[in-house]
Amino acid sequence: MSAVLNARMVADVPVAPFVPGPAGTQITIRGLTKYFAGWPLYENFDLDIPKHKIVSVFGPNGCGKSTLINMIAGLVPIDAGEILFDGKSLKETKIGYVFQNYREALFPWMRTIDNIAYPLKLEGKSKAQVDRRMAELVASFDVKFDLNRYPYELSGGQQQTASIMRSLAPNPEVLFLDEPFSALDFEMTLFIREKLQEVFMKTGTTMVLVSHDLEEAVYLADQVLLLTKRPTKVAEILTYSDPRPRTVATLSEPSFIAAKKRSLEIFQREVRR
């Protein structure tokens, strides 16, 4: 009964036909609608996320950056709309997700190595396959700490490294990162940022990164997705195409500074609006 009472009134308008994104689109979002406490957070939101690119999501407080990637990743239910991965549903798509709070993302009852292997076990991979993939990951991450320890015995940076390894273990098509550096100190942030860049250059995994640090958002990104205040729309999509590997020197390149300045201007415009 309560379900009926609280149902929103939906007018009988014809459903807009699904318009696919341009070639090379990985994630197509059409007519995404999400209400929070009766107020629209997203209404009829459309977005194309390109394949083999890193997209940084940036926007004012409370505009729902994390909610956006959580909806795409299926962690938060949507009220209306359609989200397709290369034409497939979420169920048919392998995704990885890195949480900000690594402490509550890893399973403390498993050794770190078993945490990383967990998604492979879910897939039903054989022990040999798991071991091979683990060896690959350990080599590519240049792990210098003991993976046979429990997560709580590692430092914050080591734990976040482990969660990133876990998210990459099944070779996901898309990797979502929800403020992965926010709980880390600067040194670790730099380290993991470089690791992510390395992984991206090696695998070309599509990444969607929520960040509250503009420099970091631009530094890693091919595209900076700037959002408005709620009800959230796309304010602008900024392309930043300096070649990788980007380094400390990149931070003082005119093109980087220009991209950062432009992002900041749009951000400030949206905050004041």
Partner: protein, 278 residues
């Protein structure tokens, strides 16, 4: 506990120095180490003085050394040992029933929140009802038997276990559940790989309270439901014939039992739920 917790991110990328000899703890002054014994020693001194100076008649309170002697002799093969073991066995039986039924039931109820909500009132109500108040009811059902004492203790302990395990599941860290889901775990996999583990610590809290509750009820039942053995029975019988030495020895034995069970559970919990509090 044994291993130093990895330092926070302040010193990244150094393998945790588990084996590395950390600076030896500065030798704790002897006084600090003796502190936990201060209370008991003080109690014994006061007790002894009170008896020695005749503030309380020895017929009501024997001297501490006499009592401890009675305790040690009783437990070293004396009749007290038999009653002690009977009480232990009844408590263990009641506890095992409560644990074996309660933990699975609680975990299942907790993962089906609607089911839990529908029996929540019953659990809370009977959890709040002193189990000893139900003794007459159990007497009607089971009669004056050994089963009766175990049954009522198991009942009281069961509710505590169910309650704690159910809440353990319901309060599982949302993010861990989400992490498992996003990796493609189905409901069953989330249940067996995350929810059960998350509920372990609260379950242990429940089990620890449950074993204390079981002991309390067993002792009470032994006192008042026509028992011919057990610590409760021994206490009340000694009191009837004013054999205070035996009575106090039996009371102390009950205390030792309760304390030992508590410690046993704390140690087991620390071993099994090794991540707790970190």
């Amino acid at each position: 506990m044994q291993k130093p917790t990895a330092t926070s991110a302040a010193v990244p990328w150094q393998p945790p120095q588990a084996g590395a000899p950390s600076a030896p703890l500065p030798g704790k002054p002897f006084l600090d180490r003796a502190l936990p014994f201060a209370g008991p020693v003080l109690l014994f001194i006061v007790w002894d003085l009170v008896v020695r100076l005749g503030f309380i008649k020895p017929i009501l309170l024997p001297s501490p050394s006499d009592t401890v002697m009675a305790l040690v002799q009783g437990l070293a093969g004396g009749p007290l040992l038999k009653d002690f073991l009977v009480t232990v066995w009844r408590t263990v039986q009641a506890f095992l029933i409560a644990a074996l039924v309660g933990v699975p039931l609680g975990v299942v109820l907790g993962s089906a929140e609607k089911a839990y909500r529908s029996v929540e009132f019953l659990i809370d109500f009977f959890r709040s009802t002193p189990s000893s108040a139900l003794i007459p009811l159990f007497l009607m059902i089971f009669g004056v038997s050994d089963i009766n004492k175990v049954a009522i203790a198991a009942f009281g302990a069961l509710l505590i276990v169910v309650f704690n395990s159910a809440y353990g599941v319901m309060n599982a860290r949302k993010q861990r559940v989400m992490a498992a889901k996003v990796m493609g775990a189905n409901r069953w996999q989330v249940f067996k790989d995350v929810l059960i583990w998350e509920s372990l610590q609260p379950s242990f809290v429940g089990l620890r309270s449950a074993v204390s509750m079981a002991l309390v009820i067993v002792i009470v039942a032994e006192m008042f439901i026509g028992a011919d053995s057990g610590l409760g029975n021994r206490i009340i019988n000694s009191q009837q014939v004013m054999n205070v030495k035996d009575m106090y020895a039996a009371i102390l034995a009950a205390g030792v039992l309760g304390y030992a069970l508590n410690i046993l559970f704390l140690i087991t919990e620390r071993k099994i739920v090794h991540w707790s509090g970190r």
